[in-house]
């Protein structure tokens, strides 16, 4: 506790003021080292007369007129921002100051839940990350360790569960995306407080391509793939490009076709002995040597 009492007593003309100061100099007040945010508490004072109390920190600033010798009471709404505070009691020309902490309330009130990415391919190991910051009802970061449960529920009823313990108010997990495409609900929960994010899981790259060929009108060959799927059996989205390539007599012709309703189809010139292949991304499908049938 710091005391600051200017030596005005040396001046006889200020004797009256000096006496007031002496009374004020006896003023004492003692804050608890830590109070919980949003809690009611009181501080005893000693001395006599009126004084002003200032409580100042980056989180709050307040002023109270107090009667020395009486208790100073604080209500639940008075100090609710966690932080380090300085309390200054000014009585007459003297001031005293103390420091104390306001700690986050012990009841979680909200979670800052960051789930990324919002959209990803199926079957990605540790592809989804969830970070939770735990706040009390006043928006203070809860620094004491807390058990956090994470659940990633996919579209077909499967769920992954993970638990983590927060450190300095933060906990995180990494999870795999599900084998089946669809919206997954990613939830974090702490002591009954929860937050949910939706993760869109989309099919991955094509796993294989199978193509068939049959004659078409006008000396052409009609090519069509089977429904294209990823390695988990999910239909690859329409719009994915399939490249059909025909090699004949040293000439190479390529046609890029987007998937439509899961399949790609096109027509190429029907040349006997031509070699026709289909590919999408890095996946090469079957080869057909066209013999007119």
């Amino acid at each position: 506790m710091k005391k600051r009492t200017p030596s005005l007593c040396a001046l006889p003309m200020l004797l009256a003021l000096c006496l007031t100061q002496l009374a004020a100099a006896q003023a004492e007040f003692r804050f608890p080292a830590t109070v919980e945010a949003g809690s009611e508490f009181s501080v005893a004072t000693s001395g006599s007369g009126e004084a002003s109390l200032y409580i100042v920190g980056p989180g709050e600033a307040l002023e109270r007129k107090v009667q020395l010798g009486e208790k100073i009471s604080f209500g639940a709404e008075d100090l609710h921002n966690a932080g380090h505070y300085v309390a200054i009691l000014i009585a007459g020309a003297s001031s005293r100051s103390v420091q104390f902490d306001v700690a986050a309330s012990s009841r979680p009130g909200a979670l800052g839940f960051l789930a990324k990415p919002s959209r990803l391919a199926v079957n990605r190991e540790n592809g989804i990350s969830g970070v939770v910051y735990i706040f009390d009802t006043f928006g203070n970061l809860e620094l004491s360790p807390r058990d956090v449960s994470f659940q990633l529920a996919d579209a077909i009823g499967g769920a992954q569960l993970r638990n983590a313990t927060s450190r300095e108010g933060v906990a995180f997990v990494q999870m795999n995306s599900a084998p089946k495409a669809g919206a997954a609900h990613f939830q974090a929960a702490v002591d009954g407080v929860h937050a949910t994010r939706v993760i869109e899981q989309v099919p991955g790259d094509p796993c294989s391509i199978r193509m068939t060929a049959r004659p078409a009108a006008g000396q052409r060959v009609r090519l069509q793939t089977d429904p294209v799927r990823d390695c988990g059996g999910n239909p690859v989205p329409d719009g994915t490009i399939v490249s059909f390539t025909e090699t004949y007599g040293g000439r190479v012709s390529t046609v890029d076709v987007p998937l439509k309703r899961g399949v790609a189809q096109t027509e190429l010139p029907a040349e006997n002995g031509a070699v026709i292949s289909a590919a999408a991304g890095v996946v090469l499908g079957n080869e057909i040597r066209w013999s007119g049938r």
Binding site: Y54, P58, E60, A61, G83, H84, L114, K116, E168, V170
Partner: protein, 167 residues
């Protein structure tokens, strides 16, 4: 006479430089090689510390001058809201407060997997003083710990959580 004036000016400039140099807090930063789960690039390491220290300077300017608009450059979210409320309360009461760090001992403890938040702990030594109409009401030397969470903005890291107090 002219020489005297020049000498006097030079002395004033030198004093200002020395004063500003002495006002710079000592800063110690723990190695960030083991920070996780995401590894930190050297450029991220230096920029997050630079922006955190700038936040302290801004905090001091905003609370000394009671100007909440100064907070916009470096604070965001809850941290900005709470500091702005404090400035409003200071204006209502008619006081100003200043926060002058003497030293920072900073340890980055978390860099989120997706790179969108960094948490650091700072054992900070600072002087806080409270005044009304330029008259000092009281001052304290403080040693405590701050927890800060920063998130990336357009050009710098901004402080989203700024909370003091011994755990």
């Amino acid at each position: 006479m002219k020489i005297l004036a020049l000498l006097s000016l030079a002395g004033a400039v030198l004093a200002a430089v020395l004063l500003s140099a002495s006002a710079d807090p000592a800063v110690r930063v723990a190695p960030m090689d083991a920070v996780g789960p995401r590894s930190m690039e050297p450029q991220t390491q230096s920029s997050v510390i630079r922006d955190y220290l700038l936040a302290w300077q801004t905090l001091d300017s905003a609370l000394t001058q009671n100007r909440p608009e100064l907070l916009d450059a470096v604070f965001v979210g809850k941290a900005k809201e709470k500091l702005a409320e404090t400035i409003q309360e200071q204006q209502t009461i008619g006081i100003q407060s200043s926060y002058r760090p003497r030293s920072h001992d900073i340890k980055v403890v978390f860099y989120s997997p997706e790179g969108l938040s960094i948490q650091l702990l700072d054992e900070v030594d600072y002087d806080v003083s409270v005044s009304r109409n330029k008259q000092l009401l009281g001052s304290e030397h403080v040693r405590t710990r701050y927890v800060a969470v920063l998130s990336p903005a357009e050009t710098r890291w901004k402080v989203r959580v700024f909370q003091g107090g011994t755990p």
